[in-house]
Symmetry: C2
Amino acid sequence: MVTLKDIAHEAGVSVMTVSNVINGNLSKVSKEKAEQIQKIIEERKYVPNSSARSLAKSNSRIIALILRGEQNENTLQSAHNATLVGTIIQKVQSLGYYIMINIFKSQQDISQSLRTWSVEGAILLGMFDDEIENIYRVNDVPMVFVDSYSKVRQLSNVGIDDYKGGQLAAQYLIDHGHRKMAFVGPPTTHNGVIRHRFSGFCDTLKKNGLSLNPKHQFVLESDVQPEVIIETGKRIASLGKQITAAFVTSDQIASYLIHGLRTSDMRVPEDFSIIGFDDLMIGTQMTPQLTTIAQNLDKKANLSVEILFRQLQSPNSPAESLVLDVELKERESVATIFPEK
Amino acid sequence: MVTLKDIAHEAGVSVMTVSNVINGNLSKVSKEKAEQIQKIIEERKYVPNSSARSLAKSNSRIIALILRGEQNENTLQSAHNATLVGTIIQKVQSLGYYIMINIFKSQQDISQSLRTWSVEGAILLGMFDDEIENIYRVNDVPMVFVDSYSKVRQLSNVGIDDYKGGQLAAQYLIDHGHRKMAFVGPPTTHNGVIRHRFSGFCDTLKKNGLSLNPKHQFVLESDVQPEVIIETGKRIASLGKQITAAFVTSDQIASYLIHGLRTSDMRVPEDFSIIGFDDLMIGTQMTPQLTTIAQNLDKKANLSVEILFRQLQSPNSPAESLVLDVELKERESVATIFPEK
DNA sequence: CTGAAAGCGCTTACAG
DNA sequence: CTGAAAGCGCTTACAG
């Protein structure tokens, strides 16, 4: 392994001169020496030892990317998460930082891995309020949350207007004549995106003199396992005309659901209307194409990185909380019906 | 920050005694002391500094996970890759190691990040032959490739029987009366999985007195961008009865393709048959359900980690190359036709 | 502009 | 069973 010392020796200078060249402190080194040293570094293919550097300064150039790991599921099966992760990784790398990725089981794990590597900052996807409080209190690196709702003030978060998403969905269905609707998605017990979409949906129903029959809230314990969702589709189909439409919390779920409905000979949108969430690619590739509440994933990913780096640059810059807009994309999965009176 | 020294001081012992307790060298420490020290460690929430440890031993407990980064695409948009990555991360973490993830642009980047962090081992997804040679020569950590074909002997690789997959697809289509077929997928120019699926497909056609008209090999420059694929679907539709079926190199591509075909009023399987590859969840959720060549992604992911750890344990254990089987899953996207003579 | 020295937090022979 | 000391490869004041 080639070290600073080797380079210094070969160049006939001290290690600290080499160190200065590597770190771009060129004001402290004469031009000729700098160039000569640079040449040797390249020839010898010298790669600085990050552990040593990290130990000497407290500056690891590592960003942690932390995901919630549902019980025994693969979080990256969710196209939403996978897309986000992919974009974040690329962005962080392009800024010259390293990514340590962490699918966490317990909160202890998080602090452990943040601290053991002197991680400089962290991006956390989809945490819940109770978790956030702990994580936030225990760790003191800059953190940016994505899609989190929390009582903690001063939290940097990038999210979307989930409530409005729910509103748009409800209004759209109502405008198309639907009166008896269902809500399909993960539990609304946590103070998270799902709950807010749910609230927006229910509130809008109420405002229009309607309401969601609790029986028609279909709670999915898993949002990536097809069987469960397909089963739900069949259950909905068995309800016949009791409900005519559903707001589904993700396009991915919606696509499975539609499959379940079809298996029970219920056609979308002729017999049953569906409105999704996310605007994933899958929504345009299915038949019918999915009407959905669209969000901009790339923007969400990139902004979270940008905010984090702003905090890294100036440690006491204020927490930033961004709420991105959502919009309804009208496609083919919702039919206009004429409610019987 | 709590350090070894702090703990040692508080316990009234030397740092090396504490170090031994932490590393489980209990043979060298009396039981009472060990317990007392353990208690202090927990109370003070001591977390060892991995950089320091990594510097002292050459043992970082970091595994690099390296993905090919196509031009300006998000590799994790591929459900195949995302699933693999998710499973690998969880497995590696469960073994007490850290994952540094790397979507690489150039080969230099790889060695750079492997070396700067004294990474202990690497798992590389979907590399091509020419890249492998370089990567392999320059870096001397244990590496396991996934889905790679290479002239390099002694390479640890976990792959599937892509050739057989192509054969199965061709044979199945032939058995169902198809004579004029298409191949749809990324370029077959690299010595990679696609080429082997292609070969198996073509060879089987030949064996049956058929052949693939070069015009009917549809090459996709991007395998995750819907537009390109949907466009291809339309092109195929415009060919009318010139071809009756296509072997598509992934379920994800197949799903877009079907959409493109439908847009041009071509129904699957009534007017055109499709056989996919991978057996992703998406294949069961679409209508028609996709007939496909199935592989076991979880097994592929887990085995790659297991092999890597075997190499970590005993550095001169032989390279292992595993080829997992594939099988045809018959579903609904292929119709039986009666070829005109 | 350049260098000698101390120190970051750990581990590893080596003594006792 | 326990400890003092050197060393891993770097950076950072501090002198010159």
